[in-house]
Point group: D2
Chain length 358, copies 4
């Protein structure tokens, strides 16, 4: 069968022929239908991620962590049945207290593995076997390929949960009992920025999203279809609007600080993006403002099984609440044989590229 | 225009001709599309609810509190536009601390009004005007008539929130990071029971639902379509299965105690149903079990604007995750002219009856 | 050395001579200074508790679970030193998720042991050895014998935490930012009732406490010294005052229902007391009131190490905030040789009897 | 009577003779016993605080916001009586949602006043009148002058509450059910740093505190008496130890970033100190670490009435748990007539200077 793998420590990916996996008792045999491509995949292919790690005893790593798969074979008597659609989880637990209770997204000692990233083969292959513990059933089969967005969205759902918890340190809602008076500004209009925008829009908040390029106004149009506003911010000379929540998805410390400085009292900044470069001074005045305004800054990574489950519910809802938006986010679908180029370099105008394994 | 009203203190409802309302500045003029009928409406029509109250200065009360309406006229510059679909809120705030922050669902002094129930005319009329504060926009217009379920569902969403908060007094999830190992038993298979079942099913919990009659197995079939299990419980001789969550929607104290007694450690009972009769001893052994097992019992009523908003998101998702289920819950659609009988007496096999005002 | 033990399944306790324990590596050798006597001890001595269980391989159980001890010997390099004062924990974890994270007070499968109660010898002996995990250091050595109250108080601190969590489902405080406008009624004026009264009084709530007898007005006087109010309630004909929190420490279902019925909207009932007898109807109207008023009823048992730690902090504070109150709660101090009678029967006027092992 | 005031906009303070205030109905007349001096007072006296503001209609501002006072006169029928000791609150509410519910510490629009700082006269005068809403009764009268620490401590108690809330996004405790395995590092050993150290030590956490000077080893000795560890850090070349919580009380952005960089996964940084100068780059790698480790950074200011109440409870407990520590923190007591110098310049070795008004 086909598999896309890298040799850890060397740039480049290859589509190889590998043996089909054998299902053991208790495991599920899965047919990969779609895999999404994200920045982490490109980082792996270009040998830029120091934490990349092959499975024990191997030098190669099959990549791919955003997937939709179909159950091919499973022990009788479980919830999953042949034909069930599932999204497999990326991170698998170690032995810390958070991992023990299924919250490896909050792993406190780094002792975890991640499918397609560190220590475990990923899903860019025709078939794989897995423990049902790490498979999330897709109830809404009409989602089809869109279910591949559940993996990136689960990060957003967890980030929202942390924000929601933190927001309860003061009155979290407006006079009308909703969050309709609150504004969120989102830095970055890639898939993660878009998913954050949909989530905050769906609870009635006023959403503004920006990035540095909007070829042909497509981002502005997508934003407007989800009830949000898009603005171009080509450089930092353009001041950010004041907001109650700021979401940073680009990894730029300059953008992060710009957003934190524009927060209103009790504001929350969510840092999700990561990128190695850049630098921006944190000044005494910044500290004063963070303190005097009761600002909270949240770094957040990954998500738990409950976030995958809720991510699928959101996709199911947004498919109709924001007609065409999710579909428009998948800007290209390629075959495995055509995927090596797009795995190495992000094509212009891409929001999300998906590999179709069928 | 048409309106269905009661004379408070006397049984019976009438379809009357009343003047169209005049929109004032700041208000929204609305065309009623659909109104749902629930037990409270029948209680009002049959003069069984001691808290029924007409608007000040009137003896009559226009009933109806589950509605979907279309904006006909609105001031420019607001979020709502002519043609927007909205669900109006039932309860309007008084002056207590909870009301001041838009949480009149938690009103602490009873100083509130409720459209169609106490102190304020309801939505069973062709047109009404309202303050936009109390209107919830429907983003997914494909919901159509199903949006009328947002009002009952908002109660369920609030109840879930209280459960979710309480569940955090111990580890709320299973070893896999979801609630998949938890069982919920739901007493009652009316609209509220069904909506609870869908909500708990959508987060992956194991849902069992029961009632005393299931003509033609329709409830069992609906349950199975939402991944839940239905069982007949014709009388109390049938023991309830053990569960982590128990939801009571019938108002029976006997059923409530049966469910509480079947709770596992850290279990939560949600009491939502209300009905005047019945009685069941709370014994010393019951108290011991509640204490030793860290059981929590939650009474919960109404919901806030945020719960309406999330209710609409859930409907949008369930429409596709549980195909046909929501639609099947609307067992009959009648014209206002045909509605007086069904307002007085629940037809056999009804889950939800809707009045179509168009 | 001396030890007080029972033969499980037979009434009566004996003061016996048993071998001194040998400390193993990693363990701490402890000298028992004081042990408190509570209703559970009397239940054990009178063979009334079905869950009593000797350690594996034994028919006898050394009782005693409220203790203050002094470290006699310990491995070097730990936080505890020879001479440190400690309170040992009662419940020891099993293997459920809550136990795994040190929250055996929320054990979900009953797979725990309790020193002096089920499956593990207790502290009514001159010396014992223990794992430092289950020893809570007493920072305020001026507490002396009063530290023996930390064990019952840890239950109260946990109960408060659950109440505090639940109270956040609505605005938990008053217009002044404290809980000064809230009233709590406490049923029972034994040690647990008294400790609840001090805890709620110390956060500024209006505390009322009642019981059926107040010989010589001593309870009223103690209450007033902690800023609380005591009232006699000789039978149920006396209506309970309305309150925001109701605490039941007697185990009577009649009293529990009386208190629940007197709760204001958003009120919380804390059930802590257990007693086998009694019965009171839960009616349809009760269910209506619980639902319509958003009432929550909490059963709560035991407490975690963090609650022991905070219990000791509270004792340290109350010693001076409520001068003489804690001391007055210890109504009698006896030698082990004199304790068998008082272990079998509660003396009139007792609040807490303590055994002095020195 | 005597009062210490500044003329806003000009450096310098004066001890002046002003008329005694007249108590109006509903108000309380208070005799000031002690006032503490903090950095804000010195900032006001040296005309360095841009937000300083006299009461409406005045150019002068009576300073002082840390106080202990005795009730001299009060309407009958209130909780306070002649002779009661009280701590007055600093911040008084505006009209935002948080202010409406008594949480002006979270004011969302800046529309508040602060006694002795902005818009309202403070407590450095022989007598003042106040609304009982803003007076916190001192139950433990044995605290005496130490009660003046309740005002700075209330900030710490609120900061702890926010930390505690945030900590619940992952498992907040250790395997033993307490926080004993967690380390907190505190930057700054002034009164606020000391109070943070006592609070975290009292819940069993491992506390390390540092500053740049420790004349005669007094800070190290105080730290050890509260079970904490003090270390000198004369410059940034000394790396900070890894910790789970980092508390910044100096306002230095360099120190803040050093502490954030030393946080373990799920770590929390509490920013409390403010100072105008300094700057430290936030780099791309910093953002990566904040994200990948689920770090949260909390800015927090002021506290609500509930925090004052709990601050007094803590003081009462620490007085005996850490014998002599609180007393040693008050390094000097002066008469109003001797206070102008110390109000202008911090004396070497000062932790807290108190003015005795009696």
């Amino acid at each position: 069968m086909r598999a896309i793998s890298i040799t850890v420590g060397r740039p480049g990916a290859a589509l190889r022929d590998v043996p089909e996996p054998q299902r053991r008792r208790g495991e599920v045999l899965l047919r990969t239908l779609y895999t999404g491509i994200c920045g982490t995949d490109r980082g792996l292919v270009n040998n830029q991620l120091p934490f990349a790690r092959p499975p024990p005893g191997s030098g190669d790593l099959i990549i791919g962590h955003e997937a939709l798969a179909r159950v091919e074979d499973v022990d009788p008597g479980t919830r999953l049945r042949k034909g069930s659609l599932v999204v497999p989880m990326v991170r698998r637990p170690g032995k810390c207290l958070n991992c023990l209770v299924g919250r490896q997204d909050n792993c406190s000692d780094g002792d975890f593995v991640e499918a397609g990233i560190r220590g475990l083969d990923g899903f860019m292959r025709d078939y794989f076997t897995d423990d049902p513990t790490y498979l999330v059933r897709v109830d809404d089969e009409s989602l089809g390929m869109l279910a591949v967005l559940a993996e990136p969205l689960k990060n957003v759902v967890k980030a929202y949960d942390v924000y929601d918890l933190v927001s309860r340190r003061s009155i979290p809602n407006c006079r009308d009992g909703s969050r309709s008076c609150l504004t969120v500004t989102i830095a970055g209009a890639g898939p993660i920025g878009m998913l954050f925008a949909m989530l905050f829009s769906s609870i009635g908040m006023d959403v503004k999203m920006f990035s540095r390029h909007d070829p042909e106004g497509r981002l502005a149009e997508l934003a407007s279809r989800m009830g949000a506003e898009y603005f171009l911010r080509e450089d930092r000379s353009k001041q950010l609007p004041q907001s109650d929540v700021f979401v940073e998805t680009t990894g730029s410390p300059e953008v992060a600080m710009d957003g934190i400085r524009a927060l209103r009292p009790n504001g929350v900044a969510i840092l999700f993006g990561t990128a190695p470069g850049g630098s921006e001074p944190l000044t005494g005045q910044d500290v004063i403002d963070i303190v005097e305004r009761n600002i909270t800054i949240i770094g957040t990574v990954d998500g738990a099984k409950e976030h995958y489950i809720r991510a699928l519910n959101y996709l199911s809802s947004w498919k109709d609440s924001y007609p065409g938006v999710l579909k428009s986010m998948i800007t290209s679908v390629v075959k495995p044989e055509e995927s090596l180029d797009v795995l190495a370099r992000r094509p212009a105008g891409e929001i999300k590229t998906v590999i179709d394994w069928q």
